[in-house]
């Protein structure tokens, strides 16, 4: 070997690394040897085919305990009443919770509903989803298009747009609260510029606007990244062919980029739709659903009804979450269908 030619430090390091990797290999084989007998014994019992289930079992157990079981419990809660937590102590009430939720003279007038808070949350969520998803898709598409272009320091800008996605929702909300609150950064700027202070977080319309804005800001990078991947999957020679064909830029966008991006775009729409329906954490920390109930969305309603209010109306909350689950299920099926179609075409 050329060990002699190497500086001594290098040689030392390589031997350390070697020793380390040898140690690792030793530990690994030791571990595997130790595991051999019990697994062999199990295999003797269940056969080679059964082993698959043995290996899947831990995951299935975790899934059933933390996903499937709560889902079933949720249905039971929805069909029972009282403020008791233990399911044995809860009286069966049939569909009472659902009929209470759906008891409205006019679904467009929240004040005519028995559960006005639920319907306020539904109305707010519908508006929120419509605005947020539109803004999210449009802005992330524009961002992706810009980032896909010939941009100086493209990697840097990609990181900048993706960065908020890595932040915890609570951090996102606190950052923006710090900017938007009465004595926040934005008001400080406004007042420096000689403007009036604006009640960004306790005026109903403003605070609704900011919930949309902040949630778009926080998640846009994620969707922009998906769209960017979609854009880059469009072969460059199609654009060259279009260039040879003398195609104007806007026509390239509408006739080539958009149709070829459509499957990705639909995935983004559905994903952001589902997440908009589930919006909670940033908004809860940013506005707490206020002022009044102006930014209270469906998940916050469920949370507060079940846990935050003095009397825990678990049945009502469970019923509401089932209704939301049905809506999300429909949206998810839609997404699966669309992505399936996208794949086959």
């Amino acid at each position: 070997m050329k060990q002699n030619a190497q500086p001594p430090l290098d040689a030392e390091m390589s031997t350390t690394a070697e020793r380390f990797s040898r140690g690792f290999a030793l530990a690994y084989t030791g571990l595997m040897r130790a595991l051999e007998p019990p697994f062999a014994a199990i295999q003797k019992r269940v056969g080679i085919k059964g082993m698959a289930y043995v290996f899947v079992a831990p995951n299935m157990i975790i899934f059933s305990v933390f996903v499937a079981l709560p889902m079933i419990l949720n249905i039971w809660y929805a069909l029972t009443g009282s403020n008791r937590l233990m399911i044995g102590e809860r009286p069966f009430v049939g569909l009472d919770n659902f009929s209470a939720l759906l008891d409205c003279k006019d679904y467009l007038d929240v004040n005519s509903c028995k559960q006005d808070r639920f319907w306020r949350a539904v109305h707010n969520s519908v508006l929120f989803v419509a605005l947020q998803v539109t803004a999210m898709v449009a802005l992330s598409l524009v961002t992706a298009l810009i980032l896909n272009g010939k941009l100086r320091a493209r990697g840097f800008f990609r990181a900048v747009f993706f960065f908020p996605v890595l932040l915890s929702p609570v951090v996102v909300a606190l950052i923006w609260k710090w900017i938007l609150q009465r004595d926040g950064l934005l008001n400080a700027f406004l007042m420096d510029g000689g403007f009036e202070r604006v009640a960004f977080l306790h005026d109903a319309s403003w605070s609704f606007f900011w919930t949309v804005f902040v949630s778009v800001w926080a998640h846009m990078g994620f969707y922009a990244l998906i769209l960017l991947a979609g854009l880059q999957a469009i072969p460059a020679d199609l654009y060259e062919a279009a260039e040879m064909d003398g195609t104007p830029k806007w026509r390239v966008f509408w006739r080539i980029t958009v149709p070829l991006l459509l499957p990705t775009l639909l995935v983004v729409v559905i994903l952001s739709l589902i997440r908009a329906v589930q919006a909670f954490d940033e908004i809860y920390v940013l506005t707490g659903g206020g002022p009044g109930t102006a930014t209270q969305f469906i998940v916050q309603y469920i949370y507060e009804t079940a846990f935050a209010n003095q009397v825990h109306l678990l049945g009502l909350a469970a019923a509401a979450s089932l209704l939301v689950a049905v809506v999300l299920m429909v949206l998810t099926l839609l997404q699966l269908r669309i992505s399936y179609h996208g794949k086959t075409s």
Partner: protein, 437 residues
């Protein structure tokens, strides 16, 4: 390949888990030599430190008992403790403020106490607050860890700067609202009046205005007195006496205090309570002068709401004897006195109240405020005491704070808000198995 690896690791972990559990069990078995008593405890000020200090002394005297003080945020006590208690997994003792609402989980200590008469003699007025409706008529279900009273805290420095005199002890709510607004306008303070966003804090004003809240054991929330109290709040928000920036920054029944704003000298008149004294002694220090003032008057009374926190034993405990010894130690006169002297809390102990407590503070603002607070306890309306002892008062508190906020934000009229409050109350009682109407 990777997937396989994952399942293998998963299997490994599953295999290791029982071993870990066994080891953990062995550990606890060893440590369980002295009986462990767990207390879930939240703090507003220094009471956690004081309590720990006192408990250390207790442990020295009682080596057979180890007391663990689990310090949690107040929110945990409000939102998580009820679920823990429902599922039978609560602590042995807890410091709670929803005295009546959780009372079905409390343990009657009377059979386990060495000297139950001491409790009867000294805690007679507060014992009923946490006695469950269907419990033992003379049961001892805990001991107050703090008697509190809602009352206004006023930034007197701002009054001086504005050149406006403090309204006198018999001043009305109207007087205070006008004076606070005038001061704030003069000194450019953003919050003339601030209330903690809590049903409890706005109830005192309503009782002063003539509100009754309960009728026998039935809720009777909406009456003329209550309405004029609520109307005050809506009007004050409309005319800028109260800022929407405080209550408007959260929704639902969420609590929102103004301690930070008060400590920053942005608030002229802060409707909060006696538990804030220690905190302001620290955060305000000598930056400005402040003091508690007598509760403003309405046509019916000049009252705040009593309240406070109690240390309650939980029925599910496995060591009622040990729990009783901890409570008896805490309630004993010297310990109880030291605790209050150091925490600057008002005692719910008749003997100590009469004797007076020599509070450990050299903060003039606090001294002045404590004197007024003690006076104010005597001024408190019987309706306020009764409402505070009402098992279901939280349902009413929640209904009023969330709905009046919707009226304030303009989402509904006050009349609609009253209707909704009543509907909420009916719903809350129904969930507890009580049919109203």
């Amino acid at each position: 390949m990777f997937k396989q690896l994952k399942t293998i690791t998963g299997g490994l972990m599953a295999l290791c888990m029982p071993v870990a559990a066994m080891m953990a069990a062995a550990n606890t078995a060893k440590a369980a030599d002295p009986t462990e008593v767990r207390i879930m405890w939240y703090s507003d000020g220094n009471e956690g430190d004081v309590m720990r200090d006192l408990l250390d002394r207790f442990e020295k005297q009682n080596p057979d008992i180890k007391v663990t003080l689990d310090r949690v945020p107040y929110k945990t006590v409000v939102e998580q403790l009820p679920a823990l208690l429902d599922s039978g997994q609560g602590p042995d003792l807890a410091r709670v403020t929803d005295l009546g609402g959780l009372s079905r989980h409390y343990l009657d200590l009377r059979p386990h106490l060495k000297n139950a008469k001491y409790f009867d003699d000294n805690f007679a007025s507060s014992l009923p607050w946490f006695r469950p409706a269907n419990g033992n008529k003379d049961g001892i279900y805990g001991v107050m860890s703090q008697l509190a009273l809602t009352l206004p805290l006023v930034n007197t420095t701002l009054f001086q700067q504005a050149g406006i005199p403090l309204p006198g002890p018999k001043a009305t709510w109207d007087d205070w609202a006008k004076a606070s607004k005038a001061v704030a306008d003069k000194v450019k303070a953003p919050y003339p009046m601030a209330f903690d966003r809590s049903g409890h804090r706005i109830s005192g004003m309503s009782i002063s205005m003539g509100g009754k809240f309960i009728d026998g054991d039935k809720p009777a929330l909406v009456d003329a007195g209550f309405k004029s109290g609520m109307k005050n709040l809506v009007d004050w928000h409309a005319n800028g006496t109260m800022s929407k920036a405080l209550w408007g920054s959260v929704g639902g029944t969420a609590y929102r205090g103004a301690t930070e704003e008060f400590a920053n000298a942005q608030v002229v008149f802060y409707m909060s309570g006696t538990w804030q004294f220690t905190q302001f002694a620290k955060t305000v220090a000598k930056n400005f002068e402040w003091q508690a003032v007598a509760n403003p008057c309405g046509p019916a009374a000049c009252t705040g709401m009593p309240g406070g926190a109690a240390l309650v034993p939980i029925k599910a405990t496995k060591n009622p004897q040990a729990v009783a010894r901890v409570v008896e130690y805490f309630a004993s006169e010297p310990v109880y006195e030291e605790y209050h002297a150091r925490t600057l809390f008002l005692p719910a102990h008749a003997g100590l109240a009469k004797k007076g407590i020599n509070y450990v503070t050299d903060d003039a603002n606090v001294k002045k405020s404590l004197a007024i607070a003690v006076e104010q306890v005597a001024q408190t309306s019987p309706i306020a005491f009764k409402f505070q002892g009402y098992e279901h008062n939280r349902i009413l508190f929640n209904a009023m704070i969330s709905r009046v906020n919707q009226a304030i934000s303009g989402e509904m009229s006050l009349d609609d808000a009253y209707t909704r409050m009543q509907a909420d109350i009916v719903e809350g009682f129904a969930a507890k198995g009580i049919k109203l109407q």
